[in-house]
């Protein structure tokens, strides 16, 4: 009996290590988690910051499709032979978000320069963080970064800090506002030069190449375009 228990335990442990041919594994930038869940209902979604996901793929994580919030992350992995050619599939834009009750009374971009306003931004290296810094530079208001109180490792973590009311404002993708469940509201940024380009690609070492290719085709196709448009993305 005891031997049987041991055998079961060992088999389960080993089973967990063996790469199975089961459902597709999608590594999605946190901004795309919801739309990928809709487009690949049976898939397992690993949602995190694009740079965290890229690090995990470099460390040999079992992944089939990589959805990156920017182009450079995917291009770098492609150059290293870890990704097939990435395809541009969506554009986004940056907005300011504030908690529903807007304690710091933020109405326009300039209000964020007031001393004491607590702003959360994406960490440098995270696409959201890099876009934010580029956007503020193009608008000539990098001084706003002096009010930054936290650099988060994913877009969803940035939204979370504002939704909780701990931060007064943050810069996120326009499409992230819907996922907060109405606890934040958004303020448009003035027109700026930053073009946010998201990419999707099949992971070279995929264990499920057919499923991966089908998913990429579906995201780039009619069904994907419809879902992305509904979620608020701009299409290429």
């Amino acid at each position: 009996m005891r031997a049987a228990c041991l055998l079961v335990a060992v088999t389960m442990t080993l089973g967990a290590c063996v790469r199975d041919e089961g459902s597709l594994i999608v590594f999605a930038a946190s901004s795309f988690a919801d739309v990928m869940r809709e487009l690949a209902p049976g898939a397992r979604i690993n949602a995190a910051g694009s740079d965290t996901l890229a690090s995990q793929i470099r460390e040999g994580a079992d992944a089939d499709v990589f959805v990156s919030a920017n182009e450079s992350q995917a291009q770098a992995l492609h150059a290293e032979g870890l990704l097939q050619a990435p395809a541009v599939f969506a554009h986004n834009r940056l907005v300011i978000i504030v908690p529903d009750d807007n304690p710091a009374e933020i109405e326009r971009l300039e209000d964020l320069e007031r001393p004491g306003v607590r702003i959360v931004v994406g960490a440098p290296g995270l696409p959201l963080g890099d876009y934010t810094r580029a956007g503020l530079a193009s608008l000539g208001v990098t001084s706003i970064l002096e009010n930054a109180v936290s650099e988060e490792q994913s877009a969803s973590a940035v939204v979370g800090k504002v939704a909780l009311g701990e931060a007064d404002a943050a810069f996120v993708y326009a499409t992230d506002v819907a996922s907060s469940g109405g606890r934040v509201r958004s303020i448009e940024l003035p027109p700026n030069d930053v073009k946010i380009t998201s990419t999707i690609a099949v992971v070279t070492e995929t264990n499920r190449p057919e499923g991966a290719r089908d998913l990429v085709a579906s995201v780039l196709g009619e069904r994907g375009r419809r879902a992305l448009a509904v979620a608020g993305f701009t299409l290429p």
Binding site: T52, A54, S55, A123, A148, S150, E151, Q153, E166, A167
Partner: protein, 260 residues
């Protein structure tokens, strides 16, 4: 094969398995880069900033833990009252709480929308994203390590010695400062080292309550998390440093717990 040999074989095989599983990853951390890279990565600004911040916040937190935790432990160890066991269990609860739950609990208490958030804001204090938040998180998760050890150490002081001192007219403060405390120093030191190490490694509650900003709230563990995405060498160097610190703390506690 005789029964005895069979059992010995299992023990040896299990020990070998445990050694490989527990020691190999730590060794791999050091083998992943060269010592020269480790040293130069430790000198990089993000590493230095995190190191200084971690030393500062964990030291401040530790002063509070020792100053408040010692009398608490002494009271719990030397008096009997209704609900004493329950109180000890409640104070030890953070020991076994997942760090994310500790973070949620601290937000629910000190967050802007939390229980004490309103009153605190009324007097101009906001905890989130400050060094104070880091210190609070460390105290919350680390103090039970000290209190638990301190209670059992004070309980171990020979009651006859205390009774004799009392009979000779020593006041409670003198019993504590001249007898119980000196006899308990080793045990308290061991608890103190464990609590300090736990505080130094605190991650989950900190990232939820304090966020992550270089030089303000990005402590060593948070820097490892941030650098993992940016510069693996720095992350590995900081990781290796924490393994060394953890090893030193463990040695200290072992030495202090021996030959009472």
């Amino acid at each position: 094969m005789t029964r005895g040999r069979w059992f010995t074989a299992i023990m040896i095989a299990s020990t070998a398995l445990a050694c490989i599983f527990l020691i190999l990853p730590l060794l791999a951390l050091f083998l992943r880069t060269t010592p020269a890279t480790l040293v130069s990565a430790l000198g990089s600004p993000p590493a230095r900033q995190a190191l200084l911040l971690s030393l500062k916040t964990s030291t401040i937190a530790h002063v509070f833990i020792l100053l408040v935790g010692t009398p608490v432990a002494y009271l719990l160890a030397t008096s009997t009252f209704k609900g004493r066991k329950t109180l000890i269990a409640l104070l030890e609860l953070p020991l076994v709480l997942p760090p994310a739950v500790a973070g949620l609990a601290l937000l629910a208490a000190f967050g802007r929308l939390g229980l004490l958030g309103g009153p605190l804001r009324a007097v101009g204090i906001q905890i989130a994203f400050t060094e104070a938040a880091v210190v609070l998180a460390i105290i919350f998760v680390a103090s039970p390590f000290y209190i638990r050890q301190a209670v059992s150490t004070f309980e171990g002081v020979d009651p006859e010695v205390v009774a004799a001192a009392r009979a000779l007219g020593a006041r409670p403060w003198h019993v504590f400062s001249r007898i119980s405390l000196p006899l308990s120093l080793r045990g308290l030191g061991a608890g103190s080292a464990l609590a300090w190490a736990r505080g130094l490694g605190e991650f989950g509650a900190t990232i939820m309550v304090a966020g992550s900003f270089p030089g303000v709230t990005r402590t060593l563990p948070l820097a490892i998390y941030a650098e993992f995405d940016r510069n693996l060498d720095t992350a590995l160097a900081l990781g290796a440093l924490m393994v060394i610190v953890a090893g030193a703390v463990l040695m200290t506690t072992r030495v202090l717990s021996q030959n009472r």
